[in-house]
């Protein structure tokens, strides 16, 4: 539970060890002692994620030749200072552990660690690092460890793992939630089984020990037979009725729910080592779109699905979810250079906002080419005699009527599920309870709130209709709305200018009274503005500069609209209009 505090503790290297041991109630010391029992004089030891170097120093004092690696520069400089007086000084290296063994690395020393045969280690340790990594990074970490382990070498890995009993799990999740809230971070999903990670990455477990419900120490050696690389042979059916249903499910819920698929190397048809490698994101809908388009055009290819947290290519690349690291890590995890005999990756053009192609080439040896914006153009693009410069129509984003209608279909459930469902459920719940209460107290249905409940349901239905109507009109006319300076506020005003007269016309036909008319015009205006602003997440043309400036406008509209509605309702009730 306490491991998650590391982020905060790491900011103060001086007190890190002491505080860390305090929150773990001495367990980190016990683990260190157990690991030190494995150390013998003359042994070559590597500590990955060494922090301020306590384990490194103690192992060094036992006569071992020790190297500590950490990505935190402050930790490394503190460790160096602490170890300065030792007779047999250990070595400390500042660098990214996950880039050990890459073709070329800014940190030359680390590269050497992974490549030189003489720097194999008899003991590789890592305490409380693995749980801080994303699941794919954990596998990569173990892969790297395996390449650096001497023939009879052992590894000792301690990590935070999901407790077994349900009461411990409850405490675990509660603490985690608190840390996420306090530190404003999202922690990677917890390790369910440390043994499973070790076994699938080619280790056999010698010792498995729990230090409290949520800390596991694993001592392993390399298993005799290297297991098949699971990342190399991923399968997921992309045609047929089930896939179609999943696609619709994605359309309806993908805009507010993360729908990731397993990362790794997938196949379209029967690709050979010469076949192209298409790189993409691990959003389920993206997967279906890419594989179905390739299959339709008869392209046999490898599809490298990277870890983008289940987000589509464009959003992930513009955010922080899809960058060179994700590509490099997946190339390494799948051991791609053993699968194909060429050195070329085809990346989606829309991933470019997160990529550094020379860096990918340096780190993996693979050259990057940007394909077209739409996967449907890929077969035509591959046939081009002169692929650069790409024909403009392949390189430019469109927002066709069909694409806009897809977004409308996705937008309505998003607004409903992500924003409206809770308040509506609360109001209905209160009304239902009030109904039951009145029925019990007065034993009479005549004084019940039933008409009000019905009225609310009717109002709610009207609201949903208005919302869907606005979303539909927005999707239909988006390109012709006023958009000077790519403004979403102007587009919203334009939409209001069209939907408010329609609403007035409908209410005129329904012959509602003037108070209702005023209320609905205000609601309509609020809807048009907020829907259009929210549409910024549905189109690729939105610009953070514009949205950032215009977001407060939307807030003001919603604020003043709500205040007006409340005041107006009170006046109407008091005056009895």
């Amino acid at each position: 539970m306490a491991v998650a505090f590391m982020a905060a503790l790491e900011k103060a290297p001086e007190s890190y060890d002491q505080k860390f041991d305090e929150v773990l109630e001495g367990r980190s010391r016990k683990i260190r002692e157990r690991i030190l029992e494995l150390v013998t004089p003359g042994m070559k030891v590597l500590d990955l994620g060494c922090g301020p170097g306590q384990l490194v120093i103690e192992a060094s004092m036992k006569g071992a030749y020790v190297i500590g690696v950490d990505s935190n520069a402050q930790m490394i400089s503190l460790a160096k200072r602490r170890a300065a007086e030792l007779k047999k000084a250990p070595e400390f290296i500042h660098g990214d552990i996950l880039s050990i063994g890459e073709n070329v690395n800014p940190e030359e020393a680390i590269t050497a660690l992974g490549k030189e045969p003489e720097t194999k280690f008899d003991l590789i340790t890592s305490t409380f690092l693995l749980s801080e990594l994303k699941p794919v990074q954990r596998d990569l970490f173990m892969q790297i460890v395996r390449t650096m382990l001497a023939d009879d070498g052992i590894i000792a890995i301690a990590a935070e793992t999901l407790p077994e009993s349900s009461s411990d799990r409850k405490v675990f999740w509660k603490n985690r939630g608190q840390v996420e809230l306090d530190a404003r971070i999202r922690l990677p999903s917890p390790i369910e089984s440390l043994e499973e990670i070790a076994v699938k990455t080619g280790f056999s477990v010698d010792e498995f020990k729990k230090y409290g419900p949520e800390i596991t120490l694993l001592i392993c050696k390399e298993s005799e037979k290297k297991p098949a690389n699971g990342y190399q042979n991923r399968r997921k059916v992309f045609s047929g009725i089930k896939a179609r249903l999943r696609i619709w499910y994605n359309h309806l819920t993908g805009s507010y729910r993360s729908l990731p698929i397993t990362t790794g190397l997938y196949k379209v048809g029967n690709p050979t080592p010469e076949s192209p490698v298409i790189v993409t994101a691990n959003y389920e809908l993206t997967y279906y779109t890419v594989l179905r388009a390739l299959a339709r055009d008869g392209i046999e290819a490898w599809v490298l699905v990277c870890d983008t947290n289940g987000i589509n290519v464009w959003c992930a690349a513009r955010g922080i979810h899809f960058d060179s690291n994700d590509v490099v890590q997946m190339v390494r995890l799948t051991e791609l250079s053993d699968v194909v005999n060429h050195k070329e990756l085809i990346l989606p053009q829309l991933a470019a906002a997160g990529m550094n192609p020379p860096g990918i080439r340096k780190r993996t040896g693979f050259r990057v080419r940007y394909g077209p914006v739409r996967i449907q153009d890929l077969s035509e693009w591959m046939k081009l005699d002169k692929p650069r410069p790409k024909p403009r129509k392949m390189a430019t984003v469109t927002f066709s009527l069909k694409e806009r209608m897809d977004q409308t279909v996705a937008h309505i459930p998003f607004l409903f599920a992500a924003i409206l469902a809770k308040p509506i459920a609360i109001i209905l719940g209160i009304l239902a309870l009030a109904n039951i209460g009145i029925a019990l107290v007065f034993s009479s249905v005549f004084v019940s709130l039933f008409p009000y409940t019905l009225g609310f349901l009717l109002l709610f239905a009207e609201f949903i209709l208005a919302l869907a109507g606005n979303a539909l009109v927005l999707g239909l006319i988006f390109p012709i709305l006023p958009s000077k300076g790519n403004s979403f506020w102007r587009r919203g005003l334009g939409l209001a200018g069209i939907t408010i007269p329609i609403a007035i016309l409908i209410m005129f036909l329904l012959t509602v009274n003037w108070t209702t008319l005023i209320v609905w015009v205000v609601v309509q205006f609020m809807l048009a503005i907020s829907l259009t602003m929210d549409w910024s997440g549905m189109t690729s043309v939105s610009d953070p500069k514009v949205i950032r400036r215009e977001y407060p406008y939307m807030i003001q509209v919603l604020k003043f609209g709500t205040v007006f509605l409340v005041v107006f309702s009170i006046i109407v009730i008091i005056m009895g209009w």
Binding site: G319, P358, P389, V397, G485, N486, S540, P544, I547
Partner: protein, 113 residues
């Protein structure tokens, strides 16, 4: 050095393409990656910003430029919930304690998950 600054309002938001044509080595990657057709590569001379009004500050050209001629301030995607999160975070107002890196890449300011 001749720095051409396009896409106004740099002063209040720090956005816009900052382009130094002298560094352009005509690799053409800006054209290759821009999804909005902002760039143009004439037969001779450096690439030019032909349609700056189309730019959405996506940073693709800046990240891929082989000559390091382009800079675009990265403020993530244009999704409103992301920008709302950033405003609450006081992003852009970098102080000694909160670096741009910290506040603008913190994952929970993103709507996308």
């Amino acid at each position: 050095m001749n720095v051409v600054t396009e896409n106004v309002e740099i002063e209040d938001s720090g956005f816009g393409i900052i382009y130094d044509p002298e560094k352009c080595n005509r690799c053409g990657l800006c054209l290759e990656v821009c999804p909005f057709n902002v760039w143009e590569l004439p037969d001779v001379g450096p690439a030019v910003i032909a349609r700056s009004e189309n730019c959405t500050n996506c940073t693709s050209c800046a990240k891929n430029c082989l000559g390091d001629a382009i800079t675009v301030n990265n403020m993530g995607c244009g999704c409103i919930w992301n920008q709302a999160g950033r405003q609450n975070d006081k992003c852009g107002e970098t102080t000694a304690e909160t670096t741009e890196e910290e506040c603008c890449t913190s994952e929970n300011t993103s709507c996308c998950n």
